[in-house]
């Protein structure tokens, strides 16, 4: 052990700890991505691309260098080799990394942040495999393609934000691209409205996936209690928590309906996912939703 690392033991341990998290998340995301069996997703027309589409007889106007001589030698006619037209889409991800996502009501469950990162990374893997460009919303990590991007995404997703609730990233949206927002959407409603409005202006359509803990969905509390947000910025005291349940659930339903309405208005799609539900369902839905809009 050298002098530097012994002077900063925490630094090394933290670095190792942080590095140790990456491969498992990536591996889990990879496994998850493999569970989705993809159909064809080409443009189904000839054009510029890598994959073979068809041979067609030479037509007047084709230059000689377009003729596929290997195919033509097998018959009397000349053929031209056409490839399938492919065009890459850009997909921007926004994964809420605020403290509220760290909440977990039961030790058997994963925190919401873990679930959102897993889905985000898995969908990135799927999209990058399909040749799309994936990046993070904002200026931090612009959409790119290739396996290297998966690593960069993975690293970028592991960061945590110190604020209590996250607000969607509305800056630097690429016009006419796609977006995926993963959050619990319990924070500032105006920020969500603003971000989606801006996205609609830019012609960006996308998917909202609200991830909630079962306790947030059910409110199973009773007795005298002081509720605090994860960073204790917001507090609320009640003498009888069981009385609050009905009104809390009504407010939560309101929030969901607002999200759904907002999504419909801006051409987005909305779904709510609980952390105790199978993650494959959410992934499949998200993938189809992105594909549908394409």
């Amino acid at each position: 052990m050298n002098a530097i690392s012994s002077e900063h033991p925490q630094l090394r341990r933290r670095a190792e700890g942080a590095a140790a998290k990456l491969p498992p998340l990536l591996a889990r995301a990879d496994i998850l991505a493999n569970t989705v069996l993809l159909g064809e997703h080409g443009r189904r027309r000839s054009g510029f691309g890598d994959d073979f589409w068809q041979y067609r007889p030479v037509q007047p106007g084709d230059s000689y260098r377009m003729i596929d001589w290997r195919r033509s030698a097998r018959s009397d006619a000349q053929f031209v080799r056409q490839k399938e037209w492919q065009i890459a889409q850009s997909v921007s991800l926004w994964v809420d990394n605020a403290a509220s996502m760290e909440y977990v009501s039961d030790k058997a469950l994963a925190p919401k942040s873990d679930r959102s990162r897993l889905i985000a990374l898995a969908i990135s893997i799927l999209l990058i495999r399909a040749g799309e460009r994936v990046g993070l919303a904002g200026r931090a990590l612009p959409p790119k393609r290739g396996d290297g991007q998966i690593w960069r995404l993975c690293e970028a997703l592991m960061t945590n934000d110190n604020s209590d609730y996250g607000s969607p990233e509305a800056r630097a949206m690429i016009p006419n691209s796609r977006a995926l927002f993963l959050s619990d959407f319990l924070g500032d409603w105006n920020a969500v409205e603003y971000a989606l409005g801006k996205a609609a202006d830019r012609g960006v359509s996308g998917v909202l996936l609200q991830i909630l803990d079962p306790a947030e969905e059910a409110f199973p509390f009773q007795g005298r209690a002081i509720f605090e947000s994860m960073r204790a910025e917001l507090t609320h005291e009640t003498r009888k928590a069981s009385d609050l349940q009905e009104r809390y659930l009504a407010r939560l339903a309101d929030r969901k309906i607002s999200l759904k309405r907002l999504a419909r208005e801006t051409g987005w799609q909305y779904e709510c996912h609980l952390t105790n539900a199978p993650v494959q369902n959410a992934l499949l839905w998200v993938y189809r939703a992105i594909e549908r809009g394409r």
Binding site: Y165, L186, E216, G223, R224, I226, F227, E228, S229
Partner: protein, 912 residues
């Protein structure tokens, strides 16, 4: 109170019950403390007000629970008592007469408890009372009965029974008042009881209380024809069976019951007998015999030295050689001793716990440090260590430079032989014993000759230590005093190899003179005259032993003849290195019950049970409070955490198994497992495990030996006896085993275990100290009892226990592998392919071929380390496995395959 038989010792405390309603309101008013909960959904809660402004109330049943707990505590502290006593009508003074001999000790406690209630009852009706004890007759002092009850603890039973003089003295002290009397009697007849009875009935009413049914005691203990008989007396006929316990010390000196049996009384007889057949080892440990459940001095019998025989331990190192009885170094010793003493044979550490009087080491030179230490401690505490010389001692470095603590003299190297074919001179005779020698006066046989001996270095103190010498003045027997014990060395062997001494009668006489054979001599009563005996331990009336040094000495004849009394107490007496014992009952004594006249009322003493309810109520309050705690936790939703805490507590309570013994020992006895010595080097230990794992696999596939997974053995903590085979890789970093571990290893090697030492350096040093591992092996082996070694000969049984092998490669195709040397007289018989070699398993095999690496596989059977190159390497690995199989077969079957020498003869016979 309230029609129930209940009284309170502190009734005013019950007023506190009035506070309970106030407590009710207080508890209702105070809400439970809020819980802080982290909850992101709080953003949605903001602005919501509680509809119901009333606090979540404590439920009524919880309040009731708390009220009950408080009430139970208050009532409990008020001291409720069930069944308080009733009152007594008479008003005369009451005289309580206690017999107070040892026979009343058994029921003394219940008697005095009942007497207290009797006296308290008398006190409530204002009577006076006094207590007298017949065995120590003082004048009665009539005091208010309550005060008298408090003096009761001053009376204690005494170890002698009332005598006529006691009675006279008591009657003289009684004065001339009128009184009622209560006589607490033990039921035994004694001189003057009738007279006492007459006096008491003349003064007033007499009530006799006699609680025990019969009185019994042990009168004699006889050892006859190998059976220990305990003879007991009882005061009544047809006494039911009684349990008797033989008490003695265990090897650690702790008193335990060595045996238990039943005394059976024949119908119509007052004498009962219990018979025990005990091994002499146990018998000599007996210190006393007790009738169980009868706590009196009469029911306790001290045995003293009566049952002891001299105990002699003969250390046998390894008796793997069969036959050759007459050549055995200990044969003549055993013959000389077995008549008069108890002989134990075995390993030193097996013998030492028995604390023998004499320990014989015949031609044993090397001892493990623990063994040496234990012998030395034992000698200093008074043991006699008897050593004999022999070829091994002559060849060893024992006591060569410095005097060994367990040797009387320093020895010259090699010893000497006189009168042999290659030496000058005649065999030497013994010189007559000098007048200082303990052997003085013994006749030396004319024809006794000594042909070889070990020689003492002429040191300044040699002359004082010589007990016998040869005609040329060289010492034959030397002795050194160590602490309270002594070390005696015969400079010749204990068998007839070096001299004719063990064959002669002189040998037995010499042992006798050395106090090695003589048992405790029976002293006659007349011999005791004029001696003074100091009590060491005395018996109390309840049969307990107490320190007796505060009591004055007793004359010898009084000790035998006088009755037990204040000046002669039963117990253990000491005088002049001899112990004697005086018991309460002599062999001829009997116990007789006293027949009360018909007009005397005799009854048992019993007290109505008054029961204190305080503990019950307080416990109930505590339980209610615990229930309340759980219930409030559950109500406020904090019980989830409680479950975790409970499981943590449970985990803490479960005793943690140490990591040392990987499996419980009973599992090890079910299956065979190969063991390896844990060296502390993690990589090396893993290699050992993998190697033995691979070998176990191959054994499983090819042979009927089906070992389970190999087990790492920690020499310091683990039991070795379950492992037939230990693999010990040598690493320079490993620590030397402790003394305890060495003792364990030596025992393991002596009892047939095998250790494979592997220096893993291809034996480049040829077992020398040139390689670090070789040096380490030498250090380790120094404390081990390893016999002479030789390179495994071509006809060793190891070459043919399963496969026919010529060499024993591992990862290295190294040089020699060493095993126990064949006896020098092993010769090849004409027509036989092999010599008949070792009669047993060689305790060690030493080599450096790094076998574990060649054997090592992972769990799927893939070899982990390369061996050689290509097919040759695979062949070498195969041979390594074959060596491993042969080795384990050798360990498990011993010399079975040596019997192959008989195969030609058997085939011959089959052919006919």
């Amino acid at each position: 109170m309230f029609g129930l038989p209940i009284a309170f010792s502190a009734p005013w405390l019950l007023l506190a019950l009035g506070v309970l309603p106030i407590l009710w309101f207080l508890l209702r008013a105070v809400p439970p403390a809020p819980i802080r909960r982290r909850f992101p959904g709080v953003a949605l809660l903001l602005g919501l007000n509680d509809e119901d402004s009333v606090v979540d109330r404590t439920p009524w049943w919880l309040l009731l629970l708390r009220m009950l707990a408080a009430a139970a505590a208050i009532i409990g502290f008020a001291g409720p008592v069930l069944n308080p006593e009733s009152e007594d009508p008479s008003d005369k003074p009451l005289l309580v007469v206690l017999d107070g001999g040892w026979a009343s000790a058994a029921s003394w406690r219940t008697d005095s408890a009942a007497l207290v209630t009797v006296l308290e009852n008398a006190g409530r009706s204002g009577r006076e009372a006094a207590i007298v004890q017949v065995t120590s007759p003082n004048a009665p002092q009539f005091l208010p009965a309550i005060a008298t009850a408090q003096t009761l603890p001053k009376f204690a039973p005494l170890v002698w029974q009332p005598t006529g003089q006691n009675i006279e003295a008591l009657i003289g002290n009684l004065g001339d008042e009128e009184f009622d009397s209560l006589w607490v009697s033990d039921g035994l007849d004694y001189e003057g009881r009738h007279r006492m009875l007459d006096v008491l009935t003349a003064r007033g009413d007499l009530q006799v209380v006699q609680s025990g049914s019969q009185v019994s005691g042990i009168s004699d203990v006889v050892f006859q024809d190998g059976v220990l008989k305990v003879i007991a007396q009882s005061s009544h006929q047809d006494t039911p069976e009684q349990l008797v316990g033989i008490i003695g010390t265990d090897p650690n000196g702790v008193e335990i019951a060595l045996a238990r049996g039943a005394i059976r009384y024949d119908s119509g007889s007052q004498q009962g007998v219990a018979e025990f057949s005990l091994p002499s080892e146990i018998r000599s440990r007996i210190t006393r015999i007790e009738i169980e459940g009868v706590e009196t001095a009469g029911a306790t019998y001290l045995t003293g030295d009566r049952l002891k025989r001299r105990e002699i331990g003969i250390v046998t190192v390894r008796d793997s050689r069969e036959g050759l009885q007459l050549l055995s170094p200990t044969h003549y010793l055993r013959q000389a001793m077995v008549e008069t003493a108890d002989v134990i044979e075995g390993a030193i550490l097996d013998i030492m716990p028995a604390r023998p009087d004499v320990l014989v080491l015949a031609d044993i030179s090397t001892l493990a440090p623990t063994e040496e230490q234990s012998i030395q401690d034992w000698v200093e505490a008074g043991g006699i260590l008897l050593r004999f010389a022999g070829p091994q001692m002559a060849a060893s470095d024992l006591s060569r430079g410095d005097e060994h603590p367990l040797m009387p003299v320093r020895l010259r190297a090699g010893g000497r032989t006189v009168g042999g074919a290659m030496s000058w001179g005649e065999p030497k005779a013994l010189a007559p014993f000098s007048i200082d020698s303990p052997f003085y006066g013994l006749q030396v046989p004319e024809d006794l000759r000594v042909t070889a001996q070990v020689l003492a270095q002429p040191d300044p103190n040699l002359a004082d230590r010589v007990l016998a010498e040869l005609s040329d003045g060289t010492p034959l027997v030397t002795r050194k005093i160590v602490g309270q014990g002594q070390v005696v060395l015969f400079h010749v062997t204990a068998n007839a190899e070096w001299s004719g001494l063990p064959l002669s009668g002189l040998f037995v006489q010499m042992l006798d003179r050395l106090a090695i054979l003589s048992a405790v001599s029976e002293t006659e009563a007349s011999v005791l005259e004029g001696t003074i005996w100091q009590p060491i331990k005395v018996l109390t009336a309840s049969g307990r032993l107490e320190d007796g040094l505060t009591f004055p000495g007793v004359a010898g004849e009084a000790l035998v003849d006088d009755p037990i009394g204040p000046s002669l107490r039963p117990g253990l007496y000491h005088s002049n290195d001899t112990n004697r014992v005086r018991n309460v009952l002599a062999p001829e004594d009997t116990l007789d019950a006293f027949e009360w006249p018909a007009d005397v009322e005799v009854q048992g003493l019993s007290a109505p049970e008054s029961k204190d309810l305080m503990g019950v109520l307080l416990a109930a309050a505590l339980i209610l409070l615990m229930v309340d705690t759980l219930a409030s936790l559950a109500l406020s939703g904090r019980l989830q955490g409680f479950g975790i805490a409970a499981s943590v507590m449970a985990a803490l309570l479960i005793p943690q198994g140490g990591e040392a013994q990987a499996q419980p020992t009973n599992e090890l006895t079910d299956e065979i497992a190969l063991g390896y010595v844990v060296t502390g080097d993690r990589e090396l230990d893993q290699l050992s495990f993998n190697g033995l794992f691979g070998l176990s696999d191959v054994l499983f596939q090819r042979t009927s030996v089906e070992p389970v997974n190999p087990i790492g053995v920690n020499l310091e903590t683990d039991e070795l006896a379950f492992f037939p085979f230990l693999y010990w890789p040598i690493a320079t970093g490993q620590p030397l085993p402790s003394d305890v571990a060495y003792g364990k290893l030596n025992r393991y090697l002596r009892s047939g275990g095998m250790i494979l030492f592997d220096t893993r350096d291809a034996d480049v040093a040829r077992r020398g100290s040139a390689s670090p591992n070789g040096r380490k092996l030498q250090q380790i082996a120094r404390g081990l009892d390893i016999p002479a070694l030789e390179p495994v000969p071509a006809d060793h049984v190891l070459t043919r226990t399963f496969y026919l092998l010529k060499d024993f490669p591992g990862r290295y195709r190294g040089r020699n592998v060493w095993a126990e040397a064949a006896p020098p007289d092993a010769e090849q018989v004409e027509g036989m392919p092999f010599r008949n070699l070792n009669d047993g398993v060689t305790p060690v095999i030493i080599g450096g071929n790094d076998w574990a690496s060649a054997w090592a596989t992972n769990s799927r059977g893939t070899p982990l380390y390369p061996v050689g190159r290509g097919a040759t390497g695979e062949r070498q690995r195969e041979l390594a496995y074959r060596f491993g199989i042969n080795l384990i077969m050798h360990v498990l079957t011993g010399n079975y395959k040596s019997d192959q020498v008989h195969v030609p003869a058997l085939l011959d016979r089959l052919g006919q």
